[in-house]
Structure formats: C-alpha cells, structure tokens
C-alpha cells in the first residue's frame, strides 16, 4: 500500500512516500511564491524516481502552513500532530519535541503513549524561528549552511539581547563594525534563539527524552546552545526536516488501511 505525506511549510516543501511501514523515498524543495507548484513538482519527481504514478497512491495527507491548499490531499493535519507521530515512530522514549521551523517554533509535550498532551507555539513574530537565523545570516553575508560550523569556533560569548529580528540585525551590524569575529557573533545569534525557544518550552514541565526537529536542527550551533540551556543532550532525527511529512504519511497509511 503506497501513501504520501506532504509537509507544505513556509520555506520548504517536504514529501515522504511510504510503502506500508517503510519509507520508500523522500524529498525537500525550497518553495518560492508558488508553493503548490513546488509541491507538485517534488511529488512528480519522487514518483518518477520510484517508477510510480499518482494513481498508485492510496492516500495523501498534508500538513504545514499550506496544508489546506494541496488539492490532491484527502486529509489535513497540523504539524503538531504529524511531528508527534513522526518522532514516536522511531523514538518512542521521547516525551518533549522542540520543533524549530522557518516561520514558527513549537514545543510538543507527549504522554507515555506518544499522544500530544499539550503544546506551545511562539507568538506572531519571527524571534525564535528559522527566519531569525536566515535574516542574520544574510546580514553577515554567511551562507546558511555555514552558520552552524562557524559558530562552534567561537572564542568568546556575545549577547544579542533583542528578540526582535530587525533590532537583532542592528545589533549584529554594530558588532561587525566593532570588529568582532563572525564566529563569535553567530554563536551569539544561536544563543539568543536557543534562549527564546527554551524559555517557551519551560512553560510546562520538560520531560526527557527531548527531540529537536525542523530545519534548524541541522544547525550544530543552535543544537549545542539548546542542550546547554536544557542541561542535557537531545535526540535529533536523521532527517529532522522530514518529521512532519513522515507523520503525515503515517496518518495516510492508517486512513488507507481503514478504507
């Protein structure tokens, strides 16, 4: 039985193709203004790779900010539930999920059966999200993927005190003008993000183990600061960006089996 999970996020589309309980294929594509087009292209590409056709798919579930705009999805679920399902599939010992996406961050608290017991999300501003790092990477003229490796070379702590992305950008520019090394500044940026996310997580009891998902989990600098703030290590899925799409595919599989 072939199913698909589509995570139409604010920055990237993620798709997972599952054959029964096994992940057959997956893909990630940056979305521009036409996110539906990106999702269609990506799905087409993945299907062609596997020599499959759209008609072979028994069920498609969508998640992410664009979840309601995927016309070929038969069901929609929020990332919160998809992340819970996606994480619990391979890491059933996890009780707290921190997800840092492009546009928001969430903390999902699971019960012992992997069900969502509660969740918190950032409010409407970009502080505490992947967008915070993207903006500051641009301000520093550093490619996004180099932000993590560069920051671990930091030699001194720099404090970015503003949670507002725009104000933080001014702080960063000011540090650059004062001649601070980029690695130190980037580490400060990661520390600011980690502080924001962890303070949100502390609104409820943080039970271990803790898992970090979302594209920002690929940034080693952020991971280290969150672990330092939490006082312990976190589990990180092999493909942290795909967790939501995996959860969506699992829901699709449950639905297809029920039919």
């Amino acid at each position: 039985m072939l199913v698909a999970g589509v995570d139409a996020g604010s920055n990237a589309a993620k798709i997972v193709l599952m054959e029964e309980d096994q992940i057959l294929s997956h893909g990630v594509l940056k979305t521009g203004a036409n996110s539906l087009g990106a999702v269609k292209d990506l799905l087409q590409h993945i299907l062609e790779q596997q020599h499959k056709k759209m008609e072979d798919i028994s069920d498609i579930v969508s998640t992410g900010y664009g979840r309601n705009y995927i016309p070929f999805a038969t069901f929609q679920a929020t990332e919160i539930f998809c992340h819970a399902k996606g994480v619990f599939r391979t890491m059933p010992q996890v009780r707290t999920i921190i997800d840092i996406g492009g546009q928001d961050s969430k903390v999902i608290y699971l019960d012992n059966n992997g069900r969502v017991a509660d969740f918190v999300m950032n409010d409407k501003c970009a502080a505490g999200t992947g967008h915070f790092i993207e903006s500051l990477a641009m301000a520093l003229s550093v490619p996004l993927e180099e932000m993590g490796p560069l920051s671990v070379r930091a030699e001194q702590e720099i404090t970015i005190s503003s949670t507002c992305t725009v104000f933080a950008e001014s702080e960063v520019v000011s540090y650059v003008a004062q001649g601070f090394p980029k690695s130190d500044i980037i580490s400060g940026v990661h520390h600011a993000l980690a502080g924001r996310v962890v303070s949100m997580a502390r609104r409820r009891e943080i039970r271990r183990e803790i898992c970090l998902t979302g594209g920002v989990a690929k940034n080693i600098g952020v991971v280290r600061w969150i672990e330092k703030e939490l006082g312990g290590s976190m589990r990180i899925p092999e493909e942290p960006q795909l967790t939501g799409a995996i959860g969506a595919a699992m829901i699709a599989l449950e639905r297809a089996r029920e039919q």
């Binding site: 900010y65 979840r67 309601n68 038969t74 069901f75 929609q76 679920a77 929020t78 990332e79 919160i80 539930f81 546009q103 928001d104 059966n113 069900r115 969502v116 509660d118 969740f119 918190v120 999300m121 950032n122 409010d123 409407k124 609104r203 409820r204 829901i251």
Partner: protein
C-alpha cells in the same frame, strides 16, 4: 484533524436577525437627539448609565463603537493615526480607535459606520471597574471637549465563588453613586428623578437577568442551539441600550426561541463533538475565527466576556445597595485570579466544556493576566486542556492568521485524540 462536514450557513436563531435593526435604530436615535440639542454623555462599559437616563442624558459608548469600527474592518488607519499623535502602541485599541477619530488630520479618513459618535459630548461618565485606561482615556476626551467628567471608583473584588462583595465594598460604591447624583444635579441644574432611576434599574435588571438566562440555556443545552459568533453580535443591545426597554423585549424573544430549540434539541451545528469555552474579548475584526472551528465539529458554547462583563440581576428591594452589588459582582476583569479560576471551574462543569481557548489580548492585559497559571490549574485539577492564542481585540496589525488557525486546529486534534484514547479505554 481535517475534513468534517461544513456547518449550515446563516444565523442559528431567527431573533438574531433583529440585532442589526436594533443597532441601526440606536444610532439614528442618538444622532437625532444630538441634532435636537439633547445632552449626550459618553459612557464607558460598566458605568452607572441608568443615572444618565434619570437626568435625561442619552449615553453613547466609545468602546462599543470602537468594536463596531473594528468589525467593519477599518480600525487600522485610526489606530495608526492615534499612534502618530504619540499615543503609545501599547495602549488599548478601543482607545486608539476612538482617539484616532478624535485627532484625525488630513485625507483618507475611513467612512465611519453610522456617521460616527455624536460630537461633542456634553458630559463624560466612566469607572475604573474594568480598567484604569478608561479613566486616562476619558481625561483626554475631557481636555479635548472641555466638558465635565464623572468617575465611579470601585474596589477589586476578592470574593468567593458566590461572588459577593463585602458590606464595606458595597457601602463604598453606594457613596460613589450618591456623589455622582449630586454631580449630575449640578451639571443639569435639575433635581434627581429617583423614580425614573428605579424604573431604568428595573429594566436593566430584567435585561441582565434575561441575558444570563440565555447564557445558561445555550451553555447547558447539549447540543448548544447557538455559537459564539452570533452571540457576540447579540450582546450589542445590552451594551448600548441597558436601562431601556429594547433589550428586555429582544432578549425575552430570544430566550423563548432558545427554550424551544433546547427542548427540540436543535443544535447550532449538525454534529456537535467538542464544546469550547472562550476566554477574553473576541477579535472583533475576525469573528469568523469563532465559527471556523465549527467545520471540525467544535462549537464555542460559553464566553466569560459575554457573561462576566455584561448582564446580571439587581436586588430592587434595596436599589442602591442592590445596584452597587451588581456593579461589583459581575465583572471578570475586577476579580482576582483564584476567583476567576473558581468561577471557570464551576462553568466548565455546568456547561459541559471539553476545552478552553484563552485569548491573550495585547489590548487588555488586565483581562489576560495569569493565563498560563490558569491553563495549568485547569489541566491539573480538572483535566481540561486549553490553548492560548495571541492577538488583540480590535487592532488587526499584530494578528497572525496562520499561527492562530494552526493553534486552534491542533487544539481540536488534541481533543479528538483525548476522546479517542478515552473511548479505547
């Protein structure tokens, strides 16, 4: 999770269709009175408006009008105008909408619904029961319009779940009422018409009693016959016409319709699965948010704002003390956190609530205080889950639709999972 049947369109209650006529009539009446040279008083919510009627002063409500403006989706330029006049971004958006209109300069002013508030006011009446902002806002209006301002002071309620103020607190408010009467006698150069005051109190008592009966009826009924969005429109009559016959007639009719629908078990939505409590003032520019959840089988059956800001009985056997008690007893904003929790816990039980949506309202921090504590208390003591959304009651500039929808969708998924887990034993 997704893909439930869509709710039926239109109003759930036939009586609700009369609300827009009442609204239009109110505005026509007040503009006509101003033209005829009758005195107009700007009153804030919870102010003793019956005293105004006793002196033949017609009340107009800047706060209520700000909500009307926000509902018409024209609040933003007014808010921005107020901010350009150096009113703080953090000020209540009701105040900013009003002050944006008062201080408007240049072109581009939106067309104000119902011709705007009648200006200038002849007198201003306010109270600090809901908040201090109202007092400061009214002081600005006093400076602009050079008219007298009267203030009703009142202490914060620290009662029990029965919600009774102490005798000292009642004495204090009775003294305040008598002081206001003396001030109005000075202003109008007429003698206080106590009989008229008592008559208005009697009408307020009837309307307030009916309103609470309506809230009980729709809250206790399973399925509920009417959701929040419709009831937010229906409260206008009580807010702007308290002390008159209009809300008495309107709510009597509504109560009868609700009794019939409750008896017949006619629900607001086809398949009511989850019953929600809404805490705080609604998003006037996006009341759709309250009905969007109905697509997923959820319905708001109770709102603290509609119950604990508006309505309530008055003990007419001792009118001054009865009125003072009513003023003090029924305003959620004027209660400490423990009392709020106790009241919510009682209502959650009485109205068969499955989950609570807290609106952390940037404009009304006094209302929004302690939400994470309340959230934890509800879950730990009652097993009732809740979610906090961040927005503002009338300023749409900080509202994130995607973020809010995601929270509400996820919250309904959470309720569904809990229900499924329960049914699996």
């Amino acid at each position: 999770m997704g893909n439930q049947s869509s709710p039926k369109k239109g109003r759930a209650l036939k009586t609700s269709y009369e609300a827009s006529t009442i609204l239009r009539n109110y505005w026509e009446t007040i503009h006509a009175a101003k033209k005829a040279g009758k005195p107009i008083g700007y009153c804030s919510g919870n102010a003793p408006v019956e005293l105004m009627y006793a002196f033949d002063i017609l009340p107009a409500y800047p706060e209520n009008y700000a909500a009307v403006v926000a509902s018409a989706k024209i609040a933003l330029p007014l808010v921005q105008m107020a901010e350009s006049k150096e009113f703080s971004h953090d000020l209540c958006s009701y105040a900013k909408i009003n002050l944006g209109e008062v201080f408007w300069e240049g072109k581009g002013k939106p067309e104000m619904p119902f011709g705007g508030l009648p200006t200038p006011p002849d007198i201003l009446l306010t109270t600090k029961i809901p908040c201090i902002t109202q007092v400061k806002w009214w002081e600005v209006l006093r400076d602009v319009y050079h008219c007298p301002m009267i203030l009703l002071d009142a202490p914060m309620l620290e009662g029990t779940v029965d919600n009774q103020p102490s005798e000292d607190q009642v004495d204090f408010v009775v003294d305040q009422l008598k002081l206001i009467i003396a001030q109005l006698e000075d202003f109008t150069h007429t003698k206080f018409n106590e009989e008229k005051f008592f008559h208005c109190l009697s009408l307020s008592d009837q309307a307030g009693g009916l309103w609470h009966d309506i809230i009980d009826l729709r809250g206790e009924a399973v399925p509920t016959p009417v959701g929040s969005r419709e009831m937010c429109g229906n409260v206008f009559s009580l807010v702007a016409m308290l002390g008159t016959e209009t809300p008495v007639k309107f709510y009597q009719k509504m109560k009868e319709e609700l009794q019939y629908k409750t008896w017949k078990k006619i629900g607001a939505i086809p398949n009511e699965k989850y019953r929600l409590l809404y805490e705080n003032i609604p998003l006037w520019y996006n009341l759709e948010m309250l009905s969007d959840v109905e697509n997923k089988g959820a319905v708001f059956v109770f709102e603290t704002y509609l119950r604990y800001v508006w309505g309530g009985r008055i003990d007419l056997t001792d009118p001054y003390r009865g009125y003072a008690k009513k003023i003090l007893s029924d305003v959620f904003l004027n209660m400490n956190l423990q009392l709020r929790y106790d009241i919510m816990a009682r209502d959650i039980k009485n109205y068969h609530i499955d989950g609570v949506v807290f609106h952390s309202n940037r404009s009304c921090k006094r209302y929004s205080l302690g939400y994470y504590e309340l959230k934890e208390m509800l879950l730990e003591r009652l097993g009732i889950p809740s979610v906090v959304i961040e927005a503002d009651h009338s300023d749409p500039s900080g509202y994130s639709e995607g973020n809010t929808k995601m929270k509400l969708d996820a919250f309904i998924e959470l309720l569904e999972e809990r229900r499924n887990a329960g049914s699996r034993g």
